[in-house]
């Protein structure tokens, strides 16, 4: 079907209609006629994206404080290249350029928050290229992608540049002045497991506080659990996201990790440790909740969250990688259409749910 041609002319025509309706100059007293409803709440895509960016600001600013100018550069390059790639691509395929809806900027920011602060500029650009062009535009643009673009970017970088992505974590310090490369807490746990066959993680109160506030090595976005939580709660209060995915994701990580910890505390870390380390909070509140790639109904969201949590724990405890959140979310993204199909609610007033899917 020749949808694309019709769609392209559609957009041009609609802008004209809008201008004509706004001005209606010299066109005579003609009214605008459309189907109902004739009023709107007025929320646009960019309003939603802007709120998510605002929710990420506390954690972002804090990470700049912790890691210094390098962090600022990483963020700037990521956001800038993401927006640039989207604009160039859309122009090249003669589609309307939609960078104004801020979704590319948000993807760039999320990608940056998934990277270590010392990432070289070319690596960031490769990541945003994969995120924007491959994972989003090639699928048809916003609304049509199956996988979370920022996570695809991150995972591509993880697999293509494993050294830069896993060993070069810097310790935070005031404005990144005294950075020293070291491993993340999860990385240390993994090391301990491999060398000693047992972990020795007894967190002191200071260490817990450090982990919560963000005084630890890690990617830009995973460091401050409290600030991410504040951002997440802000988004829920503003009704941008619902509580279902973050709560089910984090709770299922806690429960599953807890079960294994009870079975063998020497091998498996405390569930609270798992909950506050790694990119769990960033993933649960900001990545797994991406609209396009997560289920649309509340029950579906809960299933999605539990699935993400389970896969995260399995990868962390038994997999080859210390961190499992990114892969877990991507795997669940693939299953989202299936979840949607099977969580169709009965229409109001129906006797029972239709068992057959469309």
């Amino acid at each position: 079907m020749n949808r694309d041609t019709v769609k392209r002319e559609v957009f041009v025509e609609d802008k004209k209609t809008k201008e004509v309706a706004e001005g209606l100059a010299g066109a005579g007293p003609r009214f605008l006629v459309s189907s109902s409803p004739h009023v709107r709440e007025g929320v646009e895509i960019r309003d939603i994206m802007r709120l998510v960016i605002i929710a990420l600001l506390p954690a972002t600013l804090f990470s700049i404080y912790l890691f210094g100018v390098r962090a600022l550069l990483t963020i700037a390059i990521s956001v800038g290249s993401a927006v640039l790639f989207e604009a160039v691509w859309q122009k090249a395929v003669r589609k309307p350029v939609m960078i104004g809806n801020l979704s590319a900027a948000l993807t760039g920011l999320l990608l940056a928050l998934n990277l270590p602060s010392a990432s070289p500029w070319w690596m960031i650009c490769i990541g945003s290229l994969f995120a924007i062009v491959i994972a989003k535009q090639l699928y048809g643009g916003i609304g049509y992608n199956i996988f979370n673009p920022a996570l695809v970017g991150r995972v591509v970088l993880l697999i293509a540049f494993p050294v830069q992505m896993t060993a070069k974590w810097l310790t935070p310090s005031a404005w990144g002045m005294n950075a020293v490369t070291t491993a993340t807490p999860l990385g240390r746990v993994r090391e301990a497991l491999l060398t000693n066959g047992r972990i020795d993680v007894h967190l002191t109160r200071q260490e817990v506080l450090d982990l919560l506030i963000g005084n630890r090595a890690g990617s830009l976005g995973e460091v401050s659990v409290i600030l991410l939580l504040i951002g997440g709660v802000f988004l829920i209060a503003k009704k941008i996201i619902t509580w279902h995915i973050p709560v089910s994701f984090i709770a299922s990580v806690w429960v599953l990790a807890g079960v294994f910890h009870l079975v063998n505390p020497a091998r498996y870390a405390d569930p609270s440790f798992h909950v506050i380390t790694g990119g769990l909070f960033l993933g649960a509140f900001f990545m797994a909740t991406d609209y396009v790639t997560s289920p649309i109904r509340p029950v579906g969201k809960l299933i999605f969250g539990v699935g993400c949590g389970a896969i995260t724990v399995v990868i962390r405890l038994f997999g080859a990688y210390p961190e499992g959140v990114s892969f877990a979310i991507l795997l669940m993204n693939a299953v989202t259409p299936l979840i949607d199909r099977y969580t169709r609610a009965a229409v109001f007033g129906a006797r029972k749910v239709k068992a057959t899917a469309a």
Partner: protein, 280 residues
């Protein structure tokens, strides 16, 4: 190593044997002609024959339930091939048909009653008061026909009317069915004189709302050979059984009648359309 080779070979032999037995035991007798016919059909599954797909048409032709020229897309060449396969006689020479939109009311000449905002689809737009055009028989220009064509043979001109590409149009009839105003017709490609209007409104009303609509003055009826053009409820209609000389087009006071070589390249047709502000 050796055991692995032997084991796998044995497995492969056993599976092949099993498959052969099953293929024979559960074989479904198939008329070999169906496959042959299907091979000769274009395979577009466009539905132009009125059936759900080429396989279905192949089955019917092979069983003698459909004619060898039932496929409008395949046209004469395919019909001849099928006739050979089926051992039937087939007289070629049928003139190819092409879709034609019988409306010339582009954005400059046809009045609009309101600014339409909504789904970019003619059927949807027609649900609101019959569409934004003052002429309720006119083309709404939102491209439902363009979108439904399986051969991408139609495109929307900037003036708000669709154009048909003779090189790609197979007269499958999908656009004819999709148009909510029912103003697309399949016409023989060798005919040149066309009345590009479908309005049954009285002449006085047409004059007010469209600069190129048919006002039923009947001049063309008198100019053309007897019976070639007839009046149907305030609209002059061409009968394509006749040969109408090009000069008849000049007699129309509203510029509704056009001379178009439908078998030309679409670029020439588009150029001609832009010059006269017309549809194709």
């Amino acid at each position: 190593m050796l055991t692995a080779v032997i084991a796998l070979s044995a497995l492969a032999l056993f599976s092949s044997f099993l498959l052969a037995v099953v293929a024979r035991a559960f074989a479904v007798p198939v008329n070999p002609k169906i496959e042959e016919v299907e091979g000769a059909l274009p395979g577009a599954n466009c539905g132009g024959c009125g059936l759900p797909g080429c396989s279905e048409l192949a089955r019917r032709i092979a069983e003698g339930k459909a004619d060898v020229d039932a496929c409008p897309v395949g046209g004469e060449s395919v019909a001849l091939k099928l006739a050979a396969i089926m051992g039937k006689a087939f007289e070629g020479g049928a003139v190819r048909k092409i879709a034609l939109v019988l409306c010339n009311g582009n954005d400059q000449v046809a009045e609009k009653r309101f600014h339409y905002n909504g789904v970019r689809d003619c059927t949807s737009a027609a649900m609101l008061f019959g569409g934004d055009k003052a002429c309720l028989y006119g083309c709404l220009g939102l491209g439902t026909c363009v979108g439904i064509c399986p051969f991408q043979a139609m495109r929307m001109l900037p003036n708000g009317l669709p154009a048909v590409d003779p090189a790609k149009c197979t007269a499958c009839g999908k656009c004819v069915a999709a148009c909510p105003k029912k103003i697309i017709k399949l016409v023989p490609i060798d005919k040149r004189v066309h009345i590009l209007c479908s309005s049954h409104d009285k002449g006085a009303k047409v004059r007010k709302i469209c600069e190129v609509g048919c006002i039923a003055c009947t001049k063309c009826v008198k100019e053309a050979p007897e019976g070639a053009i007839t009046m149907h409820d305030n609209l002059a209609v061409v009968s394509y059984d006749f040969d109408i000389p090009d000069a008849v087009a000049a007699c129309c006071p509203m510029n509704t009648i056009h001379v178009r070589a439908l078998d030309g390249a679409i670029e020439r047709l588009e150029e001609a359309a832009s010059v006269s502000g017309g549809a194709l």
